[in-house]
């Protein structure tokens, strides 16, 4: 680059068109990539397919529950299933995940009951699961904050001296394209690179931050930002579960073996509204959505299974039935979910007893009881 280089379009050595790592085309054709060999058994492919179908079904059911007023709002993962399942299934048990608020598919991979997320958006809790039990941190609503927590966690793993041993753990931080503008995200890149932290930055570029298209956040492809900080960045087809799996596996392995951070930009699309309260018709064209529909993450796996005759008869129906059953169970679980009860507000604010919490809790309990006495 020289001082007169065209702004926003870096010249050599980067190619003009960003390279996209892809192992499965939208038509379901397997392609090879020299850096990311991937050998999956038929069963593994079927398992990925099942994951994709189930998380989509749970998501659709969550949207429906929201429309019916049972949940306050829902950030749908529709369209991003492959990015989440691919990266989520690349994780080892020891690895630690720091999600945003949309990673329901990764949560599934970590064994977090989807009802917990429903509880959060229903307004029953602010979190709901024990992050240490699943190595899946709480959802973070404040854009970008979690990337710093992830970096610090990775620095902790580094200090444990376990990198390169069987107890090594990588940390993965999820965030969106919009989040890449936040100071916290830039600072996490700086810390990660300076300390060579064992972390994978997994950016789901779903092209939109609510109503703002990517151009409002960046003049260069997001993955290329990593170069400026001094660590590798690459772009993967975020609708290709194989590619997401292979790329994330490799980046995680690099982290675990002490080779430092990687930025993965999963190029995908938010097929739904930002959340159920959003109205995308105000800011984007139907044609764009239609074009991305053709790149559906699930259809291509199905096509691959069919094309290569890897699914026994009745397999697709079986998965569909199972997903529907899980959707029904989710609905029942949501409808029968107990409210937290007013006095829960004062609990777990501090680790040790706190006089003001105790006082306010007791006063409020007495206040509530006074109504019961009145109505007697």
């Amino acid at each position: 680059m020289t001082i007169d280089s065209v702004r926003g379009v870096p010249d050599t050595p980067e190619p003009a068109e960003p390279e996209l790592v892809q192992l499965l085309t939208p038509e379901g054709e397997r392609v090879e990539h020299p850096d990311y060999p991937l050998d999956l058994s038929a069963e593994e492919v079927r398992d990925l397919y099942r994951d994709l179908v189930i998380v989509r079904r749970l998501d659709l059911e969550s949207v429906a529950l929201t429309r019916q007023g049972e949940v306050g709002l829902w950030p749908s993962l529709l369209g991003q299933e492959a990015a989440q399942i691919g990266s989520g299934r690349a994780l080892s048990e020891n690895d630690m995940v720091f999600p945003t608020y949309r990673e329901h598919g990764v949560a599934w991979c970590r064994g977090v009951d989807h009802l917990n997320m429903i509880g959060l958006f229903r307004g029953v809790s602010h979190g709901g699961w024990d992050p240490t039990e699943h190595n899946f941190h709480l959802y973070t609503v404040v854009i970008g904050s979690q990337t710093l927590h992830a970096t610090g966690y990775a620095m902790g793993v580094q200090r444990d001296g376990v990198l390169g041993t069987p107890s090594a753990a990588a940390t993965i931080a999820y965030f969106g394209d919009g989040a890449t503008s936040q100071g916290d995200v830039h600072e996490s890149f700086v810390f990660a690179t300076v300390f060579n932290a064992p972390i994978v930055f997994f950016c789901q570029n779903n092209q939109w931050a609510i109503s703002e298209p990517l151009e409002k956040q960046s003049r260069i492809p997001l993955y290329r930002r990593a170069q400026g900080y001094g660590f590798p960045g690459l772009r993967v087809d975020g609708n290709d579960v194989f590619a997401c799996l292979a790329v994330t596996r490799k980046a995680l392995e690099n982290a675990r073996t002490g080779q430092g951070p990687t930025l993965i930009e999963a190029f995908t699309y938010r097929m739904g509204a930002h959340t159920t309260t959003d109205d995308p018709t105000r800011y984007r064209l139907k044609a764009e959505e239609e074009a991305w529909k053709l790149k559906d993450p699930i259809e291509r796996v199905k096509a691959y299974l069919v094309r290569n005759d890897l699914a026994e008869t009745g397999f697709f129906e079986k998965v569909e039935d199972e997903a529907k059953q899980m959707g029904r169970e989710l609905r029942d679980g949501c409808l029968s979910m107990p409210d937290p009860g007013p006095l829960a507000m004062f609990e777990n604010v501090y680790a040790e007893p706190h006089p003001l919490m105790t006082e306010e809790q007791e006063q409020f309990a007495a206040y509530l009881a006074s109504f019961e006495e009145e109505s007697r």
């Binding site: 306050g72 709002l73 608020y101 959060l120 958006f121 229903r122 307004g123 029953v124 809790s125 602010h126 609503v141 404040v142 854009i143 919009g178 989040a179 503008s181 936040q182 100071g183 916290d184 931050a209 609510i210 109503s211 703002e212 409002k216 956040q217 309260t277 959003d278 105000r282 800011y283 409210d339 937290p340 007013p342 829960a344 507000m345 004062f346 604010v349 003001l356 919490m357 306010e360 409020f364 206040y367 109504f371």
Partner: protein, 327 residues
Amino acid sequence: MTTLTLGKAMNEGLRKAMENDPKVLVMGEDVGKLGGVFRITDGLQKDFGEERVIDTPLAESGIVGTAIGLALRGYRPVVEIQFDGFVFPAADQIITQLAKLRMRSLGSLELPVVVRIPWGGGIGAVEHHSESPEAYFTHTAGLRVVACSNPLDAFAMIQQAIASPDPVIFFEPKRRYWDKAEVDVESAPADWAPLHEARVVQPGEHATVLAYGPSVKTCLEAAAAAAEEGRSLEVIDLRSLNPLDIGTVVDSVNRTGRCVVVHEAPVFSGFGAELAARITERCFYRLESPVLRVGGFSAPYPPSRNEDHYLPDLDRILDAVDRTFAW
């Protein structure tokens, strides 16, 4: 007169300010095509262009920091923080820079930046979307802090805030965005009360109730309920928290001898503490009972299923009023 929601009145006020002064800019996340998540800036980009209504990158510190720079270059930026809980990434720019540049320049700089914050609870939202951070800002010298409670004030106060040569933190009661009232959109500054003047919204004799923003309506409902039991409450909408129109407050409490302060923010170290202290200092011999405070609890804003318990409601306000009489 036109019937407007509070949200639409905000929109009309912003529009007027932009028409009257080409230096007025609107900036924030999703304020352009979308018109903001609450549609407060709806249509402004279409009418005033992308140079004046700016969809910014997703970075609050960046938004306020660049607004400061634009102000230094003679613009009057009106910044939208999407939700109250997201003002914190910008807190550094607001507290260490925006609030202090005038003083540091010995008065040579003006910082006419307005930071609009859709604020408070009651809409069933997730975490960080229902916060009441006003005390952090009233505690910071150099900032003016105001809160509107109704459509007419929304329309007028936003224009007054934009006209102010000082930085203004402008709190908008988001759960009241859909409340309607008659607004004269042709009215001009001469028709409006000064920005930093409190207003007696319900005259009364037996006790004074102080409120601002979303709590004003709740207090008026409480006053109506109290009236049925023969108790006359005077409700004051503070409108401005810093500077504070303590004169209006003191006049009232000296007459009634009793005072209840209501806000959604936690009571502990909240703005009500400032009010209680000042009233005690100035009305000590007229007070029949201590100033009582009703507000959010000292716990974090709860998951929405509990927010009706957390927010001061009619019963808790009347309970506090009763206690001032039982003293």
